[in-house]
Amino acid sequence: MDLLTTARSPWGESIFTHISWSLFWASLVGGLLFLLAHGGYMLFSQHRKRPSEEVDRMERERAGLPALITRHGFVARAFHWVMAFAMLTLLLTAFLPIIGVRFAWVQWHWMAGVLLTASVLFHIFHATFVLDFWSIWVGPKDIPEFKAEMLREMGKEDVPGPRSGKYPLGNRLYHLAVMVAGLVVIATGILMMWRVRTGVVERNPYMLSDPAWGLTYVGHGLMGVGFVGLVIAHIYFALRPEKLWITKAMIFGTISRRNYLEYHDPDRWAAEGSRKPSSPVA
């Protein structure tokens, strides 16, 4: 089975043309298997939040914390849902025809792509100049957290390593994967706008050479089918009972003070009023 399709161009070159649609099924089945495997694992895994006694103590120490703590401002939430709408539209318009639901999908697909591109550009600006840019990134500084989380995952009590900042490590790794895949589909998708009639740009199918177009289509396809698995995983985690407080925060914007202290490290994500006062409050 060929994972990428090739053809011979009029100039005799062997060029890539597309990905094999079997990769779509692989991503779909892979996403669903991950869902089953993780769901089964979670039946036996340890809870990773702080012990309730420790949270009680922290609440006493941080009496200035409000009952509800803002996790996502309105603009960030609006971006998330616009992007989600665009992404689901892109996936449905791309893959429903593959599974036999036939309709004129191209115009809906490129329009959703333009919406996604605009929302991501806005997000980059907003995250860079308004939000805490580095809070979502993963780097060597996260190795202690990774080790601590793994130990907690394996059932070790009282692991001394740090808790999450604003975003859990898994959340940040997911963001990294989505960012890479998203930037590739956006960049290749923008180029592909020159191949179809959109009215947005003037068609120029000869803008790239045939081999370069082939790589563009293959890159778009690979990242596109990758998103099938990524989105399945995202929706699955959003609906998991122990994660619903995060999902609700993406709708309503806030989390409870207790969730904040159970799952986060106030030193790494300082919500308003979270600083420990110099003397404990009784």
């Binding site: 053809a7 011979r8 043309t17 597309h18 036939r102 115009q107 191949r195 009639r197 199918p205 000869y206």
Partner: protein
Amino acid sequence: MPAFELFQPASVNDALGVLNRHGADAWVMAGGMDTFDWLKDRIKKPKVVVDLAMVNELRGIKDAGGGLEIGATTTLTTIANDPMVKERFPLLATAALIVASPQIRNVGTLGGNVSQDARCWYYRAGWPCYRAGGNICYADTPTSINREHAIFNADRCVAVNPSDTAPALVALDAQFVIKNGDRERVVPAEEFFIGPGIDITKLTSLQPGDLLTAIRIPATWAGKGHYFEKVRDRQVWDFALVNIAASMNVSGSTIGDARMVVNGVAATPYRLNAVEAFIKGKARDKATADQAADIAVQGAVPLQHNAYKIPLMKALVKRAIRGDAEWTS
């Protein structure tokens, strides 16, 4: 020709059995007029060819309550000469009579004529275009030769439907009987043909395992006003640059219901819904025809070399509405 396994079933059931067993690997051949081009040029290389020539039940023309049921492998010559077709649906008889050449009409079938593939030479030459599963339309580039290509509804691919009988059948509101295994579905002619937006690699809604067995023409337009005209580069053995098929209810000099369909301008027979709505209740005269012609070409997007199709299509619409010219041959 590349090697293939040949099946020559003697019944529809046998044919369906073979098609079901081989699915997408099977190629259905009726008269072979489209098939042999592909095979001899070694562009298409099916593993299995199912030749329908021995299936007698797919041939013939039957009365169907004032309409007709035409077997899918009935030859174009038979249709053009059949008294029932000529009397009830001269539009179809005319369309069948001017397909290609007499030799081709003697073996070419109605099912084959409506199911034939696009004639875009970039595609037929085996270039890896969208329709062939690639990622470019070679006919829609700044340097393409695209005189025969689409002016409507191009969606990445600009190939057109080349059939003469297809617009006639849409104008007659025909229905296509398709069998697949034990199942049978009846598809309106307009839905039988699909554009590149739906499936860029096909011109029809036929799926692997499908067999077009018959075409039913209801009595609705029997004996009404019919018009067919085909314009081509030479007057024999050529595909239409543009053709037009129209059925019309005319009372005195007033036009009633009408169905007007143009082919050679899009990947599917292009029905002129706006024109049909406009001319209903209007006088059958030059003023109506002129206005209808303007409406007909709204939304046309010509390529580098086919802008001539716009005035050509306008002229055909005018002539069809006025009814003042016969088809040429």
